[in-house]
Symmetry: C2
Subunit: 201 residues, 2 copies
DNA sequence: CGTTAAGTAAACAGCTCGGTGTATTTAAGA
DNA sequence: TCTTAAATACACCGAGCTGTTTACTTAACG
């Protein structure tokens, strides 16, 4: 049994209350937004009494921060850690939405909270920076002449697709992927050992 | 004196109450967000009694919708109606932020309201569609082989820069402009008498 | 003047929210 | 069995919100 399922004295009561709360946050914050989701409703969905919820999380803000922290702690490891893909393919894979992706909750949190000082806003910034860093790193592996620039550009595309998907209610990641392909081709000096696509110019 | 300053009988009392309310909305919705701005505070800033405010706008939702409608009713006319620029230059000018631009309030509204059926959300969609249409139209003037595609791509860049600026609190429009330049160059068949580079995809 | 529309000020209604207090129940150790 | 900690049910608080009502004031007109 996991340590997290035990109380401070080793008891094993009400297992997973914390997980149920976070799971309910996941669902409700995504479907209804942060401000429109009350703690009463959240506790009801989590099947946890309000008292218990506030014993696990000091406040809604703290719960929100933890929710963001758990959302994608490994910063798209499923994409960037794929060794079966070339760096270039990995860069493009970042735009293949996993179908179940709602909308980047970091953007949503930053907009809803509207306070750059809020811990959740700070974490959102950290996450965005981490994504850009991974893109830059991969761009360097792919041989881009200016990896930082390409990384920043691709990160902007991801955010653009997220925002646009949210507002228009229609998928925008294919458009972003098309742009990404152009940018990558322009940023990588026609690979030496690869077959030359004979890009006349 | 303006007609709008008169009452229905030609009186000229308390001139500009409506304008002051909308002006206060402009400021507060931008600085604090929609949900965090109460009608009490808004009326105080507008120097208007609550009673008066609710005589001009039936509800906060209606005020919000009108606020969005007034924000940029001509869809960046200052950019797209500049006859002194070539179409290509106009496309790039869309990424030169006017310094006083806060953050696209349409994205903010859509995220904060979290209800696609809300009139403001619908208007946000309309605005985004209109921007893409103007970009497409200009792309066509510029001679792009696929104007719709280029327009949609540039619109995504604008949204990406807006979202990223909001989350990171640092300007992202230069990055977007750089991408735009690449996309435009790739989409327009090198000047007039050249042969077509046949843009793939 | 008196009429009339528009505005003010302030209390109020009704609701939701985040968060707490209290008494009770449950189950694991000893 | 007794103890003890965790969880529950549920009322409750204070604050803030949208929106309304009431009583009063101001100013333009005929």
């Amino acid at each position: 049994m996991t340590e997290s399922e035990k109380g401070p004295l080793g008891r094993r009561r009400g297992r997973g209350a914390r997980e149920r709360i976070l799971s309910a946050s996941q669902q409700l914050f995504r479907d209804q937004g942060i401000n429109r989701t009350g703690m009463d409703q959240l506790c009801a969905v989590a099947q946890v009494s309000k008292r218990t919820a506030y014993q696990h999380f000091a406040s809604k803000d703290e719960l929100l921060t933890e929710y963001l922290r758990r959302f994608d702690p490994d910063v798209m490891a499923g994409v960037f850690d794929r060794t079966d893909l070339t760096p270039r393919e990995r860069l493009l894979a970042a735009f293949e939405i996993p179908a179940a992706t709602p909308l980047c909750p970091y953007i949503a949190a930053a907009v809803e909270l509207h306070d750059p000082q809020h811990p959740a806003s700070q974490y959102a910034r950290d996450y965005k920076t981490a994504i850009a860093a991974r893109l830059t790193e991969t761009a360097r592996e792919a041989g881009a002449t200016n990896p930082e620039q390409l990384g920043e550009q691709l990160a902007l595309l991801i955010d653009g697709a997220s925002a646009r998907t949210r507002v228009l209610n229609s998928e925008s990641f294919p458009t972003a992927a098309a742009i990404a392909a152009v940018l990558i081709d322009n940023a990588i000096p026609a690979s030496p050992p690869r077959r030359q696509p004979s890009d006349d110019r």
